[in-house]
Amino acid sequence: MEHQSYIISPEHGWIIIAGLSVLWIGLGYYWGRRAKSMDGYMLAGRRVGLALGTATVMATWVTSNTTMLAPQFALELGIWGMIAYSTAALGLLLFAPLAARIRRLMPRGYTSGDFIRLRYGKPAWVLFLLISIFYGFIWLISMGMAGGILMNAIAGIPYEIGMSVILFVCVAYTLFGGLYAVIGTDYVQSVLILIGIVIIGVAVFQLVDFGTVYADLSTDKPMLLNALLPASIMAVFNNLLFGVGEVFHSNVWWSRVFAMSQKAGRRAYLIGGLIWLPVPVAAGFIALSSGSIGINITRPDMVGPLVAANVLGQAGAIVVFMVFFCSLASSLDSLLASTSDLITQDIYKKMIKPQASEAQLRKASSRIVLGLGFVAWIVCLPRIGTLADVLFFAGPLVASTIWPIATGLFWRKANARGAIAGMIAGSVTGLVFYFVVGWYSASLIGAATSMIVVVLFTYLFPGTFEWHKLDEKTAASNA
């Protein structure tokens, strides 16, 4: 353990973990009793309103990556780093019109995989599933790792134990309650996160003087204030396009669209995005003040929790611990549920057992949640690298899906060849840049290449897609 000075005792840490774990599992079990059908289990009965919808969008996007990676961005890339991370809000804002379009075209859809299969056919669908499941799994691993790192740094709980506990708790309540439990706990978690962020923000702004922070940065870390820091200039649009790609393709966001009404979905994404926007800026400022406060940062991804907990003292550290635990849980549960939905619907039902009954699907879904949790646990055991290293590896892959998805929703002429070529070319060129230049450019190059290829193929081989084909059940009953 590199950090030798813990903020709260392991005993306090365990008490908080135990309390929150019992609360989430209890609420998950309670809400999960409503999930009588597969629509209930996977999509919370498709009746989620604006308040719950906004809360789940906001809570899911305030992940450990917001609370841990946004400060890391500021510490590594300075002012532009803070702005770069907050551009991820544009992913939610741009998805709002898409949410309305998706709900209108696919009123009975289940997953983002459904859309790709119906819009572009099987080869594009298989490729998309590979990208989407890989990304979902990478995100899941980054969350599990974050849980272990966080509990170790704040309370001195061994990494392996902390990581195992948070994965176990999230698997347990997702297993009991499906999307009902996920959205319900997200609501409580979003309230706790917002209260915690306000408390931390007020405390930091009262204790740390802007002038001192600026003077210290100018002396000790001058490049963080430099508007022409090359890595951070690249990071702005790279992170923006990574965020757009994450939201546009991931079943985490599509499943919420199918769970909400058409109007609620569009508004929930707009409001959720706007509420989320200032969070990374506040988290980033906290990181920039670390030098002035005199805190040694042993890992860049721990700067946010360490500064906040140090500024707030013992009692405040408990608030910080709760906020980070909630932000982790609200994203882990969403990922487990949506990735399990994707595998259940798109692989088990569509490829392995088309005649599966609801009971069989529910059983398969539960086993997939358990399996995902177990595999994530195995992969998380060795600490692979920093959160950024892990997460941004998937960047070019998800960025390459932006144009196939957006054109697929709005352009009749968009076609399968363009979607497949765009995803492959974007992923490959993006990964080449990941290794040659660095993660700062990988998503950007992936999105740019994919866009050029998709537009070129649409021009060369225009399709004539009929939108009603996306409403699979209506099309089947009419036939």
Partner: protein, 150 residues
């Protein structure tokens, strides 16, 4: 006579052993120079680096110094405490030297960090490309919005 002789010999031997042990312990304590983990020649393209070092003993207080000369003229202590790593960021182009010691003991071998940021031309070109992709994506979505909410 034999006995006193043997006693003397045994005492001398025992004393020598004790002295050797004590001196070797002193030697170890005096030589407990902390070492950085990993390579001693590092390169950064973004002005940040994470330095880690081996734990030497319990209750150790480490001191890390940074300088822009190998002789450590005008060296600055950038960390003093029990942790086994530190993260440094915001460094401009240049060569930086780091050394470490424990409990005011001897300094470690110096570690050299060379910072050479990416070219601004590459950064601005990529940012320009990113801006174009983003604006075209916005245009695509906004053009489709009336269709989306109808």
């Amino acid at each position: 006579m034999t006995f006193p002789y043997r006693t003397t010999t045994f005492s001398s031997w025992y004393l020598s052993l004790v002295l050797i042990l004590i001196s070797s312990l002193n030697l170890v304590a005096g030589d407990q120079r902390p070492e950085f983990r990993g390579k001693y020649e590092l390169m950064s393209r973004d002005g940040h680096v994470r330095l880690r070092w081996q734990a030497v003993g319990p209750n150790a207080i480490y001191e890390l110094q940074q300088s822009d000369t190998p002789a450590f003229d005008n060296a600055e202590t950038i960390y003093r405490g029990p942790d086994l790593a530190t993260f440094i960021s915001g460094l401009p182009d240049g060569v930086y030297y780091y050394r470490l010691r424990m409990n005011d003991g001897d300094w470690s071998e110096p570690l050299t960090l060379t910072v050479k940021h990416y070219s601004l031309q590459l950064a601005l070109t990529l940012a320009g490309l990113g801006a174009i992709v983003f604006l075209l994506t916005v245009a695509l979505v906004l053009k489709g919005t009336p269709k989306a909410i109808r």
